[in-house]
C-alpha cells in the first residue's frame, strides 16, 4: 500500500478512511475513487460509521474517572485481596500447628509428622546448617552483584525468581548460591543477615508439585516455613522463633508470588 504504481486494494481504502495512507498514495486513491462511484460510496459509508462511533463514544471518554478506577483505589483493592489471602494462609498454619498438637498427643512423638515432610525441607535445613556457620564463604555470589545473582539463579532454575527485600525486618541480602537437589531438580539458596548476625535463608527448588499452603517445621533451634507455588518449592529457615519468622514468610510469599 505504499508505492503509487500498485493497483488499489481494500487496504488502501481502509487506510484512506483511517487517515493512514502514505502521502504518495493519496493521489492515486483519490483518482481511483473519482472514477469508481461504487468504491467511493463504500468509502463514504465506512467513514460515516467511523465518525458515528467516534461521536457517540466521545462522551464516554470525557467523563471524569470514577473514584474506584483511580490507581490508588486499585492498589488498595489489591492490598485487601492479598491480606485476605494471607489470612487464609495464616489460618492454615494455625490449623497445622493445632493438628500437630493433636498428633503429638495421639502419637506421643513427632515421627508421623516428620515422615510426611517433603525431602525439600530436609535439604533446605541441611543447606541452612551447612552455610550459615560458614564464616568465609557463606555465599557464592555476593549481594553486591544482585542483578547477576538473580539472573543466574533464574536461568539455572528455569524460572524467573526475585530476591525478596527483607530490610523492613532488619535483614539484608548477603548473596546466594546454587545447590544440587536430591531429586532431579536444582536448588538455590539466598542468604540474609541482620545486625545481630542472625542468618536467614530462602531455599528455592524447581520441579516441585503439589499444594501451596504454608507448613511449619522446627528442627533443633531452626525454624522453617515451606510452601510450593507454581512448580517452585520455597523454604525459609532461621534459628529464630516461629513468631518472628511468620511475618517474614508473609512478606516473602507476597514478593515472590507470580503476579496474578
Amino acid at each position: 500500500m505504499t508505492t503509487p504504481g500498485i493497483p488499489i486494494g481494500e487496504d488502501d481504502l481502509h487506510a484512506y478512511v483511517d487517515g493512514r495512507l502514505l502521502p504518495n498514495r493519496l493521489g492515486v486513491v483519490e483518482a481511483y475513487l473519482k472514477a469508481n462511484p461504487g468504491a467511493a460510496a463504500q468509502v463514504s459509508a465506512w467513514r460515516a460509521q467511523r465518525e458515528t462511533l467516534r461521536d457517540q463514544l466521545a462522551a464516554k471518554a470525557s467523563e471524569p474517572i470514577p473514584a474506584r478506577l483511580r490507581i490508588s483505589s486499585i492498589r488498595a483493592i489489591r492490598r485487601q485481596r492479598q491480606l485476605q489471602r494471607l489470612k487464609l494462609v495464616a489460618a492454615s498454619v494455625l490449623l497445622l500447628v493445632a493438628g500437630g498438637g493433636i498428633g503429638w498427643m495421639a502419637r506421643g512423638d513427632w515421627s508421623a509428622l516428620r515422615s510426611a515432610q517433603p525431602v525439600m525441607v530436609s535439604d533446605a535445613i541441611s543447606a541452612y546448617k551447612t552455610f550459615v556457620v560458614d564464616a568465609s564463604h557463606p555465599v557464592e555470589v555476593k549481594a553486591s552483584e544482585q542483578e547477576h545473582l538473580v539472573k543466574w539463579l533464574s536461568n539455572r532454575l528455569g524460572k524467573p525468581i526475585k530476591s525478596p527485600d527483607l530490610t523492613m525486618f532488619g535483614f539484608r541480602l548477603m548473596g546466594g548460591r546454587l545447590l544440587p537437589a536430591s531429586s532431579d531438580g536444582i536448588a538455590a539458596q539466598l542468604m540474609y543477615d541482620d545486625d545481630q548476625g542472625t542468618r536467614l535463608t530462602l531455599y528455592l527448588r524447581n520441579g516441585e508439585t503439589g499444594e501451596t499452603s504454608y507448613r511449619f517445621l522446627r528442627e533443633g533451634n531452626v525454624s522453617a516455613f515451606y510452601w510450593i507455588d507454581d512448580g517452585l518449592g520455597f523454604a525459609l529457615s532461621a534459628a529464630t522463633s516461629r513468631e518472628r519468622l511468620l511475618p517474614i514468610v508473609e512478606a516473602v510469599y507476597r514478593q515472590v508470588q507470580p503476579s496474578r
Binding site: R20, A45, R50, K60, R70, R78
Partner: protein, 169 residues
C-alpha cells in the same frame, strides 16, 4: 501521585470507552476496566518499556472481556436485547439516539474480532500493526476482519432495521 499512576491514569478514558463499546453498560464496563487495571498494576514490571502502553492495556482489557463474556455470550441474545432497549448515552437528541442504537446493535451482530478491529482502529486510533498485536493476529488477517466488519456494518445500517426488531422480540 507516582509515575506509574500517572502513566496508567492517562489511558483510563480510552479504556473506559473501549470497554463501554464492548459491553454497553456503564457499570459492567467499569468492572472490566477495574479488572484490567488490577492486572496492569500487578504486571507492571512485565510491560515493554518502549512499547505502546495503551495497546498493552487494551490487550489486557480485551482478554479480560473475552474471558468474562465468552460463556454469557454463548447463552444467547441477552446482550442484544439489553442494549437495544436501554441505549446508555449522555447525548439525548432523539435522532442521534436512533443512530446509536443502530450502530451499536449493528456492531453487536459482528463477531468479536471484527467488532474489536473496528473499535481499535476507528475509535482508539491504533495503527493496523498495533491492532494486530492486541488481537494476536497477523496484520493481513486484521485487514480482512476490518473489511468484513465494515462491510457487514454498512449492510446492517442500510438495510437492517427489521433485523433489529427480529432480535429484540
Amino acid at each position: 501521585m507516582d509515575e506509574t499512576a500517572i502513566h496508567l491514569e492517562q489511558h483510563i478514558p480510552a479504556l473506559r470507552r473501549y470497554a463501554y463499546a464492548l459491553v454497553k453498560q456503564n457499570d459492567a464496563a467499569d468492572d472490566l476496566v477495574q479488572d484490567c487495571l488490577e492486572r496492569a498494576v500487578g504486571r507492571w514490571h512485565l510491560r515493554h518499556r518502549d512499547g505502546n502502553l495503551r495497546a498493552w492495556l487494551l490487550t489486557i482489557l480485551r482478554n479480560q472481556f473475552i474471558n468474562t463474556y465468552r460463556q454469557r455470550r454463548r447463552r444467547g441474545v441477552h446482550f442484544a436485547l439489553e442494549d437495544v432497549v436501554e441505549p446508555e448515552t449522555t447525548d439525548s437528541a432523539p435522532d442521534s439516539s436512533t443512530a446509536i442504537r443502530d450502530i451499536f446493535a449493528g456492531l453487536d451482530t459482528l463477531p468479536e474480532e471484527q467488532r474489536s478491529v473496528i473499535l481499535l482502529v476507528g475509535v482508539e486510533d491504533l495503527s493496523y500493526d498495533e491492532a494486530a498485536r492486541v488481537l494476536g493476529l497477523p496484520v493481513g488477517t486484521v485487514m480482512s476482519r476490518l473489511s468484513r466488519g465494515r462491510a457487514k456494518l454498512r449492510e446492517y445500517l442500510e438495510t437492517g432495521r427489521i433485523a433489529v426488531l427480529r432480535r429484540v422480540k
